[in-house]
């Protein structure tokens, strides 16, 4: 294996790992969009908020990590419930753009709230995930791969698998899938729309928590965490707003593409290509396939 190729491979692997993160955030978007048609702009801030909460309860109340996790999950569920109570149910039947704007408002509230409750300084998040390079990879393939990233990828995969089971096998999961197509159908399963919203926002919150912990372990919990949400958006375009596989594949594509572009193109144009490359890629892709990777072709009717 040549050095160049090895470097390329390292870049790709590192991109894949970042892609997993994007995919996780995108997953949260997709869940909510699929179930309620709401474009939840606050998903990124939810990651930040969840991570802040997770660190915060450890710092302030001295809880151990294994207790902080359920506590943070509890907070996210409570948050979902509050959001449904205070925001969503008052905005039923409004235009999508109105709901979208409401989630931007929500993002502001969560951001301020997180800072207010847990302080706005950068926090270290260490839950004992392995750090450093994987010796195995280094020794056998001469590749530098972060252990944390591998762990993150594994956890993310488990989460995705769990979600798949949840959606395919449980009654609630099936109702959630039904609601995406037809609100009436969901009602016939015997679950009220409000409950469904709470559930789906809770699930999205938990996904955000996982993503937040992963990302936070890598680079600390700070405001910039919420910006990964902006990275997740092109993933959505690529994968389609309603497709879970799309979110995953899209995330990986963006992650890899971004890293490769940064490494190979960045030096020629002054760097920081990462900031926009994902968008340009998504945009170019959209022009070819407006419905995204896995979206269905829309037959317009009048």
């Amino acid at each position: 294996m040549s050095v160049e190729f090895g470097f390329f491979l390292e870049t790709v692997i590192s991109g894949l790992m970042a892609g997993v993160m994007y995919a996780l955030v995108a997953l949260g978007f997709v869940l909510i969009f699929k179930a309620s048609g709401i474009f939840n702009f606050a998903q990124g801030v939810m990651c930040l908020f969840a991570a802040l909460t997770f660190v915060g309860v450890q710092e302030k109340f001295g809880l151990p990590a294994w207790l902080a996790l359920p506590a943070a999950v509890g907070v996210m569920i409570l948050l979902a419930w509050l959001i449904e109570r205070l925001v969503l149910r008052h905005l039923v039947n409004q235009d999508p753009i109105i709901l979208f704007m409401a989630t931007i408002g929500l993002a502001y509230v969560l951001e301020g709230l997180g800072d207010l409750m847990w302080g706005s300084d950068v926090k270290l998040l260490d839950i004992g995930l392995p750090q450093g390079a994987s010796d195995y990879m280094l020794d056998n393939f001469n590749l530098y791969v972060e252990k944390l990233e591998v762990v993150a990828a594994v956890i993310a995969s488990i989460l995705v698998a769990a979600l798949a089971v949840f959606f395919q096998k449980t009654r609630v999961g099936r109702a959630l899938r039904a609601v995406a197509d037809d609100h009436q159908a969901a009602l016939s399963v015997g679950i009220s729309l409000n409950t469904i919203w709470v559930i789906v926002w809770s699930v999205a919150g938990i996904v955000a928590l996982v993503a937040g912990i992963m990302w936070g372990s890598k680079s600390g919990v700070q405001f910039s965490l919420s910006l990964i949400a902006l990275k997740a958006l092109p993933v959505l375009i690529l994968g389609g707003f309603t497709s879970i596989p799309g979110a995953i594949v899209g995330g990986l594509i963006i992650g890899v593409g971004e890293k490769v572009a940064e490494v190979y193109m960045g030096p020629f144009v002054g760097g920081a290509v990462e900031n926009w490359f994902a968008y340009m890629l998504a945009l170019a892709f959209l022009l070819v396939r407006p419905q995204g990777l896995f979206g269905e072709k829309i037959i317009e009717r009048v």
């Binding site: 037959i299 317009e300 009048v302």
Partner: protein, 282 residues
């Protein structure tokens, strides 16, 4: 008084069936013809090998059970769908594949099965939008809203007001259409289509969801449109009474295929048509 006798004839002409009008002495002029048109969506056939024509000046009804492909047919006619097979003749010439707004420009207007008004605008603005194709003033004049732009705006307003008057919707002129009752929305939609001064007007279930009185009004408007402006009309309608009263000729579709074509009375007697409506065939 001497003119009594003729009058009653004239009156019956207006109020009842236009089909009894004077028989055409010469070959009717063709407005539009579709020949062997087929349309499918990802393998699902919506229309299969359909041919029929629409004469200039007539009221042509397209009927058939739900899912027969009627609306798809209208969508083909005004360029919204592009058939995989077949030819469309427009005013005697083969029509190339065109975009909906080009079809509109060539003189085809339509209304929709589920009212498709511009909900955020007033009745007046909705109808004015229908004049868009005929308004020519350039961007500069639009910016200052004077000179040619203002003149044009006023001229078209006058035209639009005539249509508003014709369809008796003066009282809702400045109301946002979103809040109007359904029957009035349908009327505004017709007004918008008429504002285009089309050669061919496609009406997709103009009377769906209306009560008897509204239906009568709408029938009157359709007949008057046909007579006063000489507009050729193709309409889809479920109310057989209305179809029989209004139309000169009827084409019947079922499962995307044509199963009948001719004057209302003839079609009504067609066994295949009766079966289709009763669900016997297939």
């Amino acid at each position: 008084m001497t003119f009594q006798a003729n009058v009653s004839d004239a009156m019956s002409d207006v109020t009842s069936n236009a089909a009894t009008g004077p028989a055409p002495a010469k070959e009717p002029e063709m407005m539009l013809a579709v020949e062997h048109v087929s349309l499918s969506f990802g393998g699902v056939k919506a229309i299969t090998d359909i041919s029929f024509d629409i004469h200039k000046g007539e009221i042509r009804a397209i009927i058939g059970p739900n899912g027969a492909g009627k609306t798809s047919m209208l969508n083909v006619i005004n360029g919204f769908y592009h058939p995989q097979e077949g030819t469309i003749y427009w005013q005697g010439k083969v029509r190339r594949r065109m975009k909906p707004h080009e079809a509109a420009k060539s003189g085809i207007a339509r209304t929709f099965q589920n009212v498709a008004l511009f909900k955020g605008m007033s009745t007046l603005d909705n109808v004015m939008t229908g004049r868009g194709l005929r308004m020519k003033s350039n961007f500069f004049w639009q910016c200052i809203h004077k000179g040619p732009a203002l003149r044009e705006e006023n001229e078209h307003r006058a035209k639009v007001e005539e249509i508003i008057d014709f369809l008796e919707i003066q009282h809702i002129r400045n109301k946002p259409v979103g809040k109007l009752p359904y029957g009035l929305q349908k009327r505004v939609e017709l007004a918008r289509a008429l504002a285009m001064e089309p050669d061919l007007l496609l009406l997709d279930e103009p009377m769906a969801g209306m009560n008897l009185e509204e239906k009568e009004d709408m029938s009157r408007f359709i007949i008057e449109t046909n007579q006063r402006y000489g507009t050729t009309i193709a309409l889809i309608e479920h109310d057989m009474g209305v179809v029989m009263d209004l139309s000169d000729r009827v084409v019947v579709l079922d499962y995307g295929k044509k199963i009948g074509d001719g004057p209302p009375a003839e079609v009504q007697a067609n066994q295949e048509v009766i079966d289709a409506y009763l669900g016997v065939s297939h």
